[in-house]
Symmetry: C2
Subunit: 419 residues, 2 copies
């Protein structure tokens, strides 16, 4: 062991290339301390994780998740948290001047639904939920718990609601409309910019909530330009960070609606009234406490966000489009069909692909796992046995030198006897 | 660098001793994969973190937090999650036969308060909150949001409520009574066993909720024997795992109360109705999904729990008592006083100690930080400038060879000119 460690150590490498596979030792910054330290970290060998989240994580991100015990109010941590909030705005193409408010909390993406219910919904409020799959059903169920009168505009499986149906739903001037940007149960990508423009035209006071759990940092999102009010997400997908962080960006207008509500917030832990002053303090570099933030996950997020913004976001979106095109073209070429009705409403960070006739998940997924490739089974009840899901977000899409995409296609071809 | 890595590698060491400082390379199991891999991990140099949480983490725990991307439904992860649930019961001296239900969620300790509000409180329910500091106030505020009629039984700062006051509050047979086991704002340890016995005698149907955020795995808790109904906690204190996990154990009786409520659960993400089937599936080794669990934190928790249960829990509690006695005796010897009125109601995992007359946090804490020792300032508003707080939980208390406690005392003596 000692000899191999020595050999590895000698092959020094640029830290920015830590995503490369095979991954060589990197010079890692010692977070949580005022000094820098040489450290060596290479994540354990493992099966290639290509599901629609969690995804593959880079070594620097995982190393940041192993940051030593650090106080949530320490001078080392405060600027890291503050910078992460600023970088999140940058990834979503929003500006501080717009008054948008990033909120990072321990929780899963699902907690973002409750954040909408707790902070924006008052009993009896009308909410339109555009439903493109499982996650629309669940978001609707969540908001109803908080007293929303939900009007679901459902598309058939693999499709999106029509403009006519959306415009009709807007005629009652609902308080909120929700869009599942990418429904991971169907792989359908909703045209968020277009839908936002419909809302601006037909019901401009309606708050636009984008469930972007499976789209932040993998699909195009222009928060300010599109006039979005809430983006909710999580870390384990396009952001490339282990799960455990609820990610929210709220517009000035949404924050004002939450502040001016007539009834109290319907929860404590996810009350923006509690958290926004804390987030503002972190961003201003001041210590502050409401509940303990997940310090290590914030370090990991900070590491990933810095890598993401090191290039224009548009380049990252293009890289995901190219990855998606490669996967879908290759699957098409061997005769496979997709769940989304057409390419222009198919996600770029994942692919929901139908099994060849006669095959189901137990025929395919274990054989892929034998080849160290982990994809996901179906999720949407109506078609659950008929398809599987491939994730291609983060390093898998952006760092093509890893060869993840080629490995997946090769594996699928072998298992289906198409090579 | 290569040479030093080589030297370190040659000094091989038993993985169980990974907590030792200086920390030597360890042979780490590669989680999330079917193979084992030699890996080397040593956390970065950093200031000694001795606040009442987050605490110092062991190298194996941090390495587990850097587990590669792993699916939340994978055959690698399911048994790790399932075992963690079982081990949590063991740490709290509960049995599967009792029907107690462990619940692990992405969130902070505070989310546990909401879990009580969402699942157990119905509008108009009477709840008695025993208040020994800041966290009693906040727990009461949280439960009121969910419609509880809260009767706070307050003790003066540094003290606990009298038996008479508790018995009087129980006379109306409240649905729930809450106890802050250790209020980290005062360092007061509530006599949970004794209070539970009062409840059993005077209002046996009252559910007993123990806020054990700062006591699980550092103070004695006998879930089954004391007849507790809910223990809520977090990972970054006695459990020795980075923050980001809400830890709950609910009795069979508490689960039944949540199931038999007349009104729906008042939240979605923390609804036990949603999560309990998932937890049961994980414990039974079956894949299951409601929201994505924080996979890496569960690996880290699993690593810490296995280390904790490798010895009897009583030994761990005794180690914390011994650490506490050492710190308090040393501070007493240099003439310092404590916030808790007497030693028998002082926490064993932390110490709230008053500054010498004329000194405040800015006179002391920065000088300790210069010596690489991070303690916490005061938190309770009534006395906030008068005291500071030292944490001595987890490896700092249990692994005395680290010398953490001696370093803290030496630093304090130097800064106060008492050496």
């Amino acid at each position: 062991m000692a000899q191999s460690v020595l050999r590895q150590s000698i092959r020094s490498i640029n830290p920015l290339r830590g995503n490369l596979r095979p991954v060589l030792p990197i010079i890692a910054r010692s977070f949580g301390t005022s000094t820098f330290k040489m450290s060596e970290f290479k994540q354990a060998d493992h099966k290639l994780l290509v599901i629609p989240g969690p995804i593959e994580f880079s070594d620097p991100v995982l190393l940041a998740n192993a940051t030593p015990g650090t106080a949530h109010t320490s001078p080392a941590f405060i600027p890291v948290f503050g910078e992460s909030l600023k970088l999140l705005r940058k990834v979503l193409l929003s500006t501080e001047e717009s008054g948008s408010q990033p909120i990072l909390l321990a929780g899963s993406g699902t907690l973002g639904w409750d954040a909408v219910g707790v902070n924006l919904v008052e009993r009896g409020d009308e909410v339109v939920v555009l439903n493109t799959g499982y996650f629309g059903d669940s978001f609707a169920e969540c908001l109803e718990i908080y007293g929303a009168k939900v009007n679901q505009v459902k598309a058939e499986v693999g499709n999106i609601p029509t403009d006519e149906a959306i415009i009709s739903a807007l005629s009652s001037k609902p308080k909120i409309i929700t869009i599942t940007h990418v429904d991971t149960s169907t792989g359908v990508l909703s045209p968020a910019a277009h839908i936002a423009s419909l809302v601006k035209k037909h019901s401009p006071d309606t708050l636009i909530v984008l469930d972007a759990v499976c789209s932040v940092a993998s699909e195009e999102i222009k928060f300010d330009e599109w006039g979005l009010d809430v983006v909710i997400s999580a870390t384990q997908k396009g952001l490339g960070v282990p799960p455990g962080l609820s990610v929210v960006l709220a517009s000035k207008r949404a924050v004002e609606v939450s502040e001016n509500r007539k009834t109290p917030q319907q929860g404590y832990y996810i009350s923006w009234k509690k958290w926004i002053p804390i987030m503002k303090n972190y961003e201003a570099g001041k210590p502050s406490y409401f509940a303990t933030p997940p310090v290590q996950l914030i370090y990991a997020l900070n590491t990933s966000l810095k890598s993401i913004v090191s290039k224009p976001i548009s380049e990252r979106v293009e890289a995901h489009k190219a990855a998606s095109k490669y996967i879908k073209d290759e699957l098409s070429a061997i005769g496979l069909d997709f769940v989304p009705k057409s390419r222009d409403i198919a996600a770029n960070g994942m692919t929901a692909v139908r099994f060849p006739k006669g095959l189901q998940a137990p025929d395919v997924l274990p054989k892929l796992a034998e080849r160290d490739i982990v994809v996901a089974a179906g999720l949407h009840k109506a078609i659950v046995t008929e398809y599987f899901r491939i994730g291609h977000m983060g390093v898998t899409a952006v760092d093509r030198q890893r060869g993840d995409l080629e490995k997946v296609i090769k594996g699928i071809k072998e298992v289906l006897g198409k090579n």
